[in-house]
Amino acid sequence: MALVQVLQATGAADPGFSTWRPTLYAYCIWASALCWGQVLIRGERGKRVLFVLPAALFVISLTVFPLIFGLAIAFSSWNLSNPDGRQFNGFANAVQMWSDPFYWNALTNMVWYTLAILVEYAIAFGLALLLNAQIRGRKFFRVAFLLPLMLSPVAVSWMIGKSMLEARFGPLARLARWLGWENPSFFGTLEMARLTIMVMDAWTFIPFMMIMLLAGLQAIPKELTEASRVDGATGWKSFWEITFPLMLPVSITAILIRVIFKLKLADIVITVTSGGPGGATDTVTSFIFREYRDRSNVGYGTMLAMVYLVMIIVTMTAIMKLTARWARPQT
């Protein structure tokens, strides 16, 4: 397997075909040959390998290889509009990144966006608690609450970002004026623009956390809450001392997955503000997207993305280590 990777990489260094399509076909043929070979050589055990092998080959060819390739691009100057093609330029991209205020600005924004998850979590938890209560029309509420998650972020950014927040006659602007905000502009100041993007993203993703938390709530044995009531714990106290500790593992999982999704945030930003005003709403993804679209700068963009990936891995590992204590179900 490693050999083929190397072969492909060296094949990538000196293109012999007009397109590299044949490489793709060769890989497909090689992969199916490998699968058949496993069955023929190893018999029964080979048949078991056949369960995991296709997915593994698929993922390896589509992530590991592009990642290696990406590393090569990251250390080169490559502007797609430039006919010279790719040129190795060592750490020049890294140096440029170090002094690129917009990149660091985008990273700072990501910290803000990520912190907003705590508020989303609180709202989602509250809603999950309400949905878990004995209520009628649960089906209606579940569908209604689920809908924002299902809608395409691009459509959402038009529906809310462009239409409902429209300063002159959008219904939300109207509401804001009625509430006493003289000149509602949701993207006027830096903080306001960032907050607006946060709210729109929260609108889409609160259902996701809510459903995970609701599943967690429904898994709590009824006896526990009843016993606590018998022991005289009132609502507030029983929540903090029974429900919340029991919900910690689910909460950690929900927040972690939400962080992962938040770090990919781009669609709404690209379509509503393109990062403006003054980069206040820029996410790393939308910044790199524009870096490519406006300047076709593949090398630099890839370097930024790779650094971002390393940061994500470090942060996620740190968070997982730190929260591992609470993530285990308490006995």
């Binding site: 293109p15 997915a55 990406g70 309400l130 239409s163 006659f169 898994a219 997955i257 770090l263 781009a266």
Partner: protein, 306 residues
């Protein structure tokens, strides 16, 4: 002198009932407010697609009551009753994008559920060793793809696809989308297979079925709900995907979200036609959500409770 009735509610009883009603009221109140927050943008889009310019400017809200609905937005898409017969370039464009979206979403979800189900089954039933990697490491390898932000893969893929002549093709998008939803499918399906007792296959194998026979005839039908959940979730995610589609397609293979986004950029502000387009883009999802809500919730809750 009034007689005090013998049977009456005590002070405590009455207070308790008051509290009960108050809390009911609060619960339904908050739920209703949130439901409005969730549904209003959809309502707004749906009604705007039937508005004329002055209706939009004056912020009319309720059809027939403060404005007269017109087919204006849908006419511009070529989808209103009186234009449905005539030929329309916008409608052709829209249908082309719609087909692209549908094909990529369906194909990649099918592929992902196929590959992911097999992998999840293998990982939950057999022991593997791949170099230093054991089962847990292999599972982690698959699921950790979720952390990979799309932007890291985007530019290498762009260059690679250009070289492979896969740029602006549906196949290219399908491969990439399969990759992005595969971790989620594996996550859901592992959870599903963990809930099926191993005795079932053991019995089947005693009866003379092979590994694959037992899997295909016994386990797969039981695991169907999980597969449906994974499939629908993948479908939603791939249908909505914008970032890769915007980057990797230009004229042939671009999907509905790209079309919607390209219309927002042009500030001609045809509110009604934008509204019609957005609403047409989200309508399939609303239908799916209303009909298959159980499966979606099941899929999302899969990882939550261990």
């Amino acid at each position: 002198m009034s007689e005090t009735p013998i049977f009456r509610d005590g002070e405590a009883d009455r207070r308790y009932r008051m509290q009960w009603f108050a809390s009911r009221f609060a619960i339904y109140g908050i739920l209703a407010v949130w439901a409005v927050i969730c549904l209003f943008p959809i309502y707004w889009t749906a009604t705007t697609s039937f508005k004329m310019a002055p209706n939009v400017m004056q912020g009319h809200l309720v059809p027939w009551w403060d404005y007269q609905p017109k087919w204006l937005g849908w006419k511009s898409l070529g989808l209103s009753p009186d234009t449905i017969g005539a030929s329309s370039t916008v409608r052709d464009e829209f249908l082309k994008r719609f087909t692209n979206s549908a094909i990529t979403a369906l194909a990649s979800s099918t592929l992902a559920v196929g590959l992911g189900t097999l992998a999840a089954y293998g990982l939950s039933r057999f022991r593997y060793r791949f170099g230093p990697m054991r089962n847990d490491d292999i599972s982690f390898f698959f699921v950790s793809q979720l952390i990979l932000p799309p932007v890291v893969l985007a530019l290498p893929f762009l260059v690679l696809y250009k070289a492979l002549a896969l740029l602006d093709t549906r196949i290219g998008l399908i491969l990439l989308y399969t990759l992005t939803v595969l971790p989620i499918v594996i996550w859901i399906m592992k959870d599903q297979f963990a809930s099926i007792p191993t005795e079932l296959e053991e019995a089947a194998m005693v009866d003379g079925l092979g590994v694959w026979g037992a899997f295909l005839t016994i386990i797969l039908p039981i695991a169907l709900p999980g597969m449906v959940a994974a499939f629908i979730l993948s479908l939603v995610l791939t249908w909505n995907e914008y970032f890769f589609a915007a980057l990797l397609t230009s004229t042939h293979a671009n999907t509905l979200p790209v079309m919607v986004a390209s219309q927002t950029g042009s500030q001609g502000i045809n509110w009604w036609s934008m509204a019609a387009l957005s609403f047409a883009a989200i309508l399939p999802l609303i239908v799916i959500a209303a009909l298959l809500e159980r499966f979606i919730i099941r899929g999302m809750a899969a990882g939550a409770v261990k």
